[in-house]
């Protein structure tokens, strides 16, 4: 990848504060942790989902089920993409009549979220699906919006948004770099 860092938009403290605020917002909207499940999209959404559940537990004292979702098989670009690497979906609970908080790192075109919603529907019939993202960078191609946003980051389509998390990358940071036209991800 030939790109250079332009700006850091969130540091570790900002990421942490965003997760704390989203945890409060989720609990407020749901009026507690009753019926709540948190599902993260692999791989970074899954790490964020576990952190969010951890924070919810600290605030509310309630254990919220956490699952991970791989959307490879639901993508709309299977036949044009180069790297169909597949991870495991792990939803060890029944989704029916739950309120699912879907978690991803970056909201961009909305195609990933469309795929994730289709995937969730094949596992059960949740009573509602809410969307929480760490960064909303705009440029939607589908009518999708997030219910909980860590930070809105206006970007040009030439820029790339990178989310690094301690679990996979050793540090918590969100930064923007300038690169070639980014393909939908």
């Amino acid at each position: 990848m030939t790109s250079r860092t332009k700006a850091v938009v969130m540091d570790a403290t900002a990421v942490d504060r965003a997760i704390t605020r989203i945890a409060h917002e989720v609990l407020e909207a749901n009026k507690g942790a009753e019926g709540l499940v948190i599902v993260g999209i692999v791989t970074r959404g899954a790490h964020l989902a576990h952190r969010l559940a951890e924070r919810v537990k600290e605030i509310e004292g309630a254990e919220v089920p956490v699952g991970t979702l791989d959307i490879s098989f639901y993508r709309d670009d299977v036949s044009t993409r180069n790297n169909p690497e597949v991870h495991r979906t792990d939803l060890p609970f029944d989704l029916t009549d739950t309120c699912v908080v879907l978690v991803d790192d970056v909201l961009f075109t909305g195609r990933t979220i469309r795929a994730a919603m289709d995937a969730l529907m094949d596992y059960g019939r949740p009573s509602c699906i809410r969307l929480a993202v760490l960064v909303d960078r705009g440029h939607r191609e589908l009518p999708v919006r997030a219910d909980y946003v860590g930070k809105n980051v206006p970007t040009s389509s030439r820029e790339r948004v990178h989310v690094r998390l301690a679990e996979t990358d050793g540090e918590d940071v969100v930064f923007i770099s300038e690169g070639e036209e980014e393909k939908a991800c």
């Binding site: 791989d70 490879s72 098989f73 639901y74 993508r75 299977v78 036949s79 044009t80 993409r81 180069n82 790297n83 169909p84 597949v86 991870h87 495991r88 979906t89 289709d118 094949d122 596992y123």
Partner: protein, 311 residues
């Protein structure tokens, strides 16, 4: 994606490809346990099962795999196609090509028929068994089944027992085992071994009872009763006595060792009924794995940017 856009034999796959297929198959196996088993992944793509030799389980397995991925699966069988009217494979291929399909799975009585198709069609070709040559998806599902049960493949000693010379299953399984670092051991009377078993890179033995305690897997091949030139051993009873799996032989194996068979089984010949139905026999697990492994093969072949499907 894989390093080849066709799977004609194990030579087309690197050990990385094999690892990738087995990993992907694990995800599909999880899907096969859901209530809704269908995925939208290959929507709009057409998979043709060109089965010009009788087959139920392989064709059904490919058909289910295609349908679970939302591809349109079309079956061409020898009895129901123009082949009985004398159409050549070349013309059948041209006809299919004109109808623009994305993947053809071919089973044919002649070795090399799948390769011939690759020269005549633009789409990906998967060998579903060609003559006595290869049957690569069978070898892949066998590897998957072994890995699921025994946890690893490297270093496993796998005895392949029976008609090695005329078995396309062995034709793919031997190179597949070598690629993943397992040790194939060919066990058969000399009349059922190929003329030069040494070139395969496998150990060879005529004595099943001698090697049995060293094996992790006993892979029993089917005795092909329908063979026109008669059986190359004195009697089925004698074959069963020297090379058939039974409870006494199973007891002589390691406690963790397993018995496999590609099916359909001749109970009482290469495998006794009590062993076939025991929990050490993985025959049904093999069938179950077949769907997930074939889903993985289709997904990885049709999911690449430079496959015919993307054009």
């Amino acid at each position: 994606m894989l390093s080849s856009r066709h799977i004609l034999g194990m030579d087309d796959l690197t050990s990385e490809d094999i690892a990738r297929i087995l990993d992907t198959a694990e995800s599909f196996a999880a899907v096969n346990e859901r209530r809704i088993k269908k995925l939208p992944t290959l929507r709009g793509l057409t998979v043709v099962n060109l089965f010009l030799e009788p087959s139920t389980r392989t064709r059904t397995s490919f058909e289910i795999a295609a349908k679970r991925l939302s591809a349109d699966a079309i079956n061409f069988t020898a009895s129901a196609s123009a082949t009985v009217k004398g159409e050549s494979l070349r013309d059948t291929a041209a006809t299919l090509a004109a109808m623009s399909c994305d993947l053809v799975i071919i089973r044919h009585k002649y070795a090399g028929a799948p390769r011939m198709l690759t020269e005549m069609m633009d789409c990906s070709i998967v060998n579903g068994g060609d003559g006595i040559h290869q049957h690569p998806t069978q070898a892949l599902l066998d590897l998957y089944t072994m890995k699921q049960r025994l946890g690893h493949l490297e270093g496993l000693r796998v005895g392949i027992v029976g008609d090695i010379a005329h078995s396309r299953v062995a034709g793919s399984l031997v190179p597949a085992l070598l690629k993943v670092g397992a040790i194939p051991v060919l066990i058969a009377p000399p009349t059922l071994l190929p003329a030069r078993p040494d070139v395969l890179g496998a150990e060879v033995s005529w004595d099943l009872d001698e090697v049995l305690p060293t094996l992790d897997v006993a892979y029993m091949l089917r005795i092909q009763m329908e063979r026109a030139d008669g059986m190359p051993f004195p009697s089925l009873r004698e074959y069963a006595r020297f090379y058939g799996m039974n409870s006494a032989r199973l007891a002589a194996m390691k406690p963790s060792a397993i018995v496999m068979h590609p099916g359909p089984m001749n109970r009482g010949v290469e495998i006794s009924a009590d062993v076939a139905d025991s929990d050490r026999s993985l025959v049904l697990e093999q069938v179950e794995s077949g769907v997930a492994v074939r889903m993985a093969v289709m997904y990885l072949l049709l999911g690449g940017a430079d496959s015919g499907a993307a054009a």
